[in-house]
């Protein structure tokens, strides 16, 4: 078991360009999430909404380590993954808005971003819900002798639910090509890792399953990418599961509505001091890779992308009421069973009044 937590040496022109690319992606996540929080407070987004603020380096580093053919499962804190994996920002925002043009026609919402085109097989709102599913996908790959890898992201708190044990055990037992990533932002809602986990060095839990594992600085995009790449390649070549723990912080509350009153000023300051986006910005400038105004130009460009995404979502219509019944079953089932013969489903909708004069509405 290796603990990767290393600084990289000075880089070549190629790696400078790469770093700039990562910065651009991290900024996309940052600005998209900030705009999402704003849209939520404007009541354009309903339901529960969890942001990747503070996890940008982790998200981008992880996504750089998997290939197009690979599969991704995540928890509900999934916007950043979707954007970097290649979902269209407008369609992601429309999904958060619950609109027709969202990636799941508005029915999945913030927590369930799903797009088979980019092989992101879901965010999941039930803690631990994605784990056995991801292992199942890896088992399918294994049966087909495929060369794809499944990456399964989760939070630190998730390592305490039963599904974690069940899934890691089977994945190891059956040599599945899967990389479990524990995004340790040090909090599960308001509960710290120390309060909830008997072994707070979470990557060590893998040893119970004879699974390789490592811990890496989640605020360092290159370190995350390199560690994840190692894990992915191992899973691909050797058909062995891997557990990678990334350690970062949560810049805001658990969800948009959480003021995080359980955190002290000092804690929040400490997280802010580690801000991965600001950190990379300063590193790029300090290493002479880019000038401040060049980075500002990238920021402006990202701003335009996010603005366009919001405009797209704003214009997208709400799903049709009649679509309520459309996808519950693949074959016809009369699941509008409360309706009696000859009756409109929504009698109070304009134009839906029952024709029968014996039973006028609101008589």
């Amino acid at each position: 078991m290796a603990t990767t937590n290393r600084r990289r040496p000075a880089r070549s022109a190629k790696s400078s360009e790469e770093l700039l690319g990562f910065y651009r992606q991290m900024l996309l996540v940052r600005r998209f999430e900030e705009r999402t929080a704003q849209a939520y407070t404007e009541a354009k987004i309903g339901g529960y909404c969890h942001l990747n603020l503070g996890e940008e380096a982790t998200v981008v580093g992880l996504m750089a380590a998997i290939e197009e053919r690979d599969y991704l499962f995540t928890n509900y804190r999934d916007h950043g993954y979707a954007l970097i994996r290649g979902m269209d920002p407008g369609r992601v925002m429309a999904e958060l808005y619950g609109r027709q043009d969202g990636v799941s026609k508005g029915w999945g919402g913030s927590m369930h971003l799903f797009d088979t085109d980019v092989r992101q097989l879901g965010g999941y709102g039930i803690v631990g819900g994605q784990l056995p599913l991801a292992a199942g996908a890896a088992l399918a790959v294994s049966y087909r002798d495929g060369d794809e890898v499944v990456m399964c992201q989760m939070g630190d708190g998730t390592t305490n639910i039963g599904a974690f044990h069940e899934t890691l055990n089977m994945a190891s037992l059956w040599d599945l090509p899967i990389v479990f990533v524990v995004v340790n932002n040090q909090l599960g809602m308001g509960t710290t890792v120390e309060v909830s986990s008997a072994e707070p060095e979470l990557y060590k839990r893998a040893s119970a399953y004879r699974m390789e594992s490592a811990r890496v600085d989640g605020n360092d995009v290159i370190a995350v990418r390199d560690a994840a790449k190692l894990a992915v390649e191992r899973a691909r070549k050797e058909q062995k599961p891997y557990l990678l723990e990334t350690v970062s912080g949560r810049l805001k509350g658990h969800s948009v509505v959480d003021p995080a009153a359980y955190r002290s000023k000092d804690e929040i300051e400490a997280v802010r001091a580690q801000d991965p986006v600001a950190g990379l910005h300063d590193r790029l400038v300090g290493d002479g890779v880019a000038k401040v105004d060049e980075l500002a130009e990238i920021d402006a460009e990202i701003g335009r992308i996010v603005k366009a995404a919001v405009e797209f979502a704003d214009k997208s219509p709400a799903p049709e009421v009649s679509s309520l019944f459309d996808y519950t079953y693949a074959s016809p089932v009369p699941n509008d069973s409360r309706r009696l013969p000859g009756e409109a489903l929504f009698p109070t909708e304009p134009g839906n009044q029952p024709a029968d004069p014996l039973f006028p509405v609101g008589a």
Binding site: G47, T191, P319, L324, N335, D336, A363
Partner: protein, 336 residues
Amino acid sequence: MTLSIGKALNAALRDAMREDDTVLMFGEDVGALGGVFRVTDGLAAEFGDRCFDTPLAEAGIVGMAVGMAMNGFRPVVEMQFDAFAYPAFEQIASHVAKMRNRTRGAVNLPMVIRVPYAGGIGGVEHHSDSSEAYYAHTPGLKVVTPATVADAYSLLREAIADPDPVVFMEAKKLYWAKDEVSLPVTTAPFGTAEVRREGTDATLVAYGPAVPVALEAAAAAAEDGRSLEVVDLRTLVPFDDSAVAESVRKTGRCVVVAEATGFAGVSAEIAARVQERCFHSLWAPVLRVTGWDVPYPPPVLEKYHLPGVDRVLDTVDRLQWDDVPDPRFLVPEQAT
């Protein structure tokens, strides 16, 4: 004083913990945070380690409560939301519900599983389920769902004092509903339905989040000269057959209003029991207004899913007021 349902639940927990130090409260984020709906606010400060945060492990939480209840404690556990109780369902269905029966009474399980449930707050899938039927369908569990501030306090106190396991279902959208009450208050015991509004023309049977909807519908119907009685079940198990039957025998018509999906739901059980007991008093079939049989929809469609006043009134209109058979109650072949 004026109190919300959320605050009344908090007061019930506090008073129970003050009176009996075998009462414990635990669950995810119930300590420092005070629970996502703040129902356990301040308990950790007052009672120290008698109110504590657990890891994210619902099956473990409920299972631990079983072990404590078998050993002299009265644990109250919080499931953060309806759908997050499903990982604990194995414990609830296989152990909580069956322990007393299996041991032929050697142990009681005096424990309470608090479940915030149902929708109406734009809470999306996993955060809006009406899961009461799963529990009500499982013999061995008591299932309680208050709709008033006084009941929130009194029924929770009774649940904690009860020798049996109680699934205590708290309608999320009612947490902020306020009323005048002076604590401590004792309302009617488990198994007693309450007539919340008297009427003569038809009975609306409701529980939990549907009670205010039924009351609003009854008020609207009164303006149209129709007198509706509203019965609040308060506890689904035990079920107050006689109060419901008494009301329906008086009015001769019955509509069940429930937020859960209709098929095989508690509403279906109520309709069946009413027709079994009141067949000769009924002027029309017992009808139901429920959520549609679909997974809980996203916020923009929520209002179409939830039974609202309009859908209740529309259904009441169908209760054969002119004593003419409604063709829609016939099977399609007969109707044509």
